[in-house]
């Protein structure tokens, strides 16, 4: 099993979810986050004083899938979330040791 962590632009969330559902992803975790990468921050003016906005809002997806599906999930996210502008996000893939479905006690691939 693989854990795929992806950060994407918030407005892309719905589009990415649809695309992932189409390729067979049956669940994901979503959180609203702030961070900085190469997009870095920008400056704003409030009542005549300039200030730096150092963290940019993003959405973080966490998806656990069978190892065989991981590559397809990564490429689906990448192609859907891409805008060709700075700040499109990053995708990480990690190994997952075990999984358990709380209701039934099923484990690993059966629990996904």
């Amino acid at each position: 099993m693989k854990l795929i962590i992806a950060t994407i632009k918030p407005f892309k969330l719905e589009e990415v979810r649809e695309a992932l559902t189409t390729v067979g992803v049956r669940g994901m975790m979503v959180s609203e986050i702030k961070g900085f990468g190469s997009q870095s921050g920008h400056t704003e003016i409030y009542r005549g004083a300039e200030y730096a906005v150092n963290f940019v809002p993003k959405v973080k997806l966490e998806i656990v899938v069978q190892a065989s599906m991981a590559e397809q999930v990564v490429s689906t996210i990448a192609s859907t979330a891409k805008t060709d502008k700075i700040g499109d996000g990053k995708i990480f893939v990690l190994d997952v040791e075990s999984a358990l479905r709380v209701r039934t006690g099923e484990t690993n691939d059966d629990a996904l």
Partner: protein
Amino acid sequence: MKLTKYLSVGAALTLLPTFALAQDAAPGFDEIGPYIMTTLLFLVGGFLVFWMAAGFAMLEAGLVRSKNVAMQLTKNIALFSIAAIMYWLVGFNLMYPGDFNGYFAPNFVPTVLEPVGLGAADAALDYASVASDFFFQLMFVAATASIVSGVLAERIKLWPFLIFVIVLTGFMYPITGSWQWGGGWLSEMGFSDFAGSTIVHSVGGWAALAGAIILGPRLGKYKDGKVNPMPGSNLALATLGTFILWLGWFGFNGGSQLAAGTVGDITDVGRIFANTNMAASAGAVAALILTQILYKKVDLTMVLNGCLAGLVSITAEPLAPSLFGALVTGAIGGVIVVLTVPMLDKLKIDDVVGAIPVHLFAGIWGTLAVAFYTGNWGAQITGIIAYGVFTFVVALVVWTILKGIMGIRVTEESEINGLDVTELGMEAYPDFSKG
């Protein structure tokens, strides 16, 4: 507000026998109509100005950070209520002592209303009921105190602030108010301030400026030579508050005609409403355009301040100008705000809601502008200086004493965690922080 001269209860009683002789026929509407109309003007004007307390509360709630909103609301309802009690206890009779042209009125006595079911023969038919006059005037002193609360938000302790409000509303404001509206030395000199650009707004601004200097800026506001903005929690509330103030201002300026019983007077009230509205619009548009030019983006908080500055500017003379004159007066008020908000930051004077530019600086401008209509520059400048020196110096002394006796600033930890949790133990928006 024009000089008020109503018959005191005592004077009315001495006239009683004369009236009684001629009382066989009930008085016609020609006799009592003006009294009824003016009293009605005070009541309508009074509840409009009362509603400005809601406007100040919403404006300030929106411009402070969410961790201080409940405290700001507490201060607003407390200061209004204290002002109302102090104005009954000493303020009203101190400010309007009747025949008086001195510097300090000696009347430290509570207000007494007319008896229930007053007969026409006993009423001050050339003016309005004492109760309506008292009700109307006390709303103005509350506005003065609201100005102070906005400037000192997010760092001042509740009780020292409220003690200052007692001194301001019970003594400082009525004493200086009597110089002009009570028939004192400034009114003898020809100073003119129709509804209180100086007497109400600048006085609040001066008291707040003294407080801001003694209290110091919020933690982290000025760091390493840079200004660190602290955006407000809710611009929808701030905008609602501004619209409420705008509405209330029709009563503030219109009611200050102090008469509605003739064609001339009621027409003047209409003229004042229209001019007041024009000045507010011009102040907002001026700030809208100026922030776009200066910062490449419109700053809503500045537009709100610009609108209020337009209102403050026209308050000293809302009757004489044409609509175009009101537009110019208000627009200059809006420009003053946009230019002076960053100036205060340069001086490291932390004014959370922009009340010093709005009420003090635009108030000075509005009071000066009266001279374009009266020609009496000397009286206008004397008035501005007199109100400024008295209020600023007395406020500095009072703030310094309060600081020495009980401390006026919350602890560093309280300020960081927010006054809502540390001082009140409740939050304005608990769902957001704990949800």
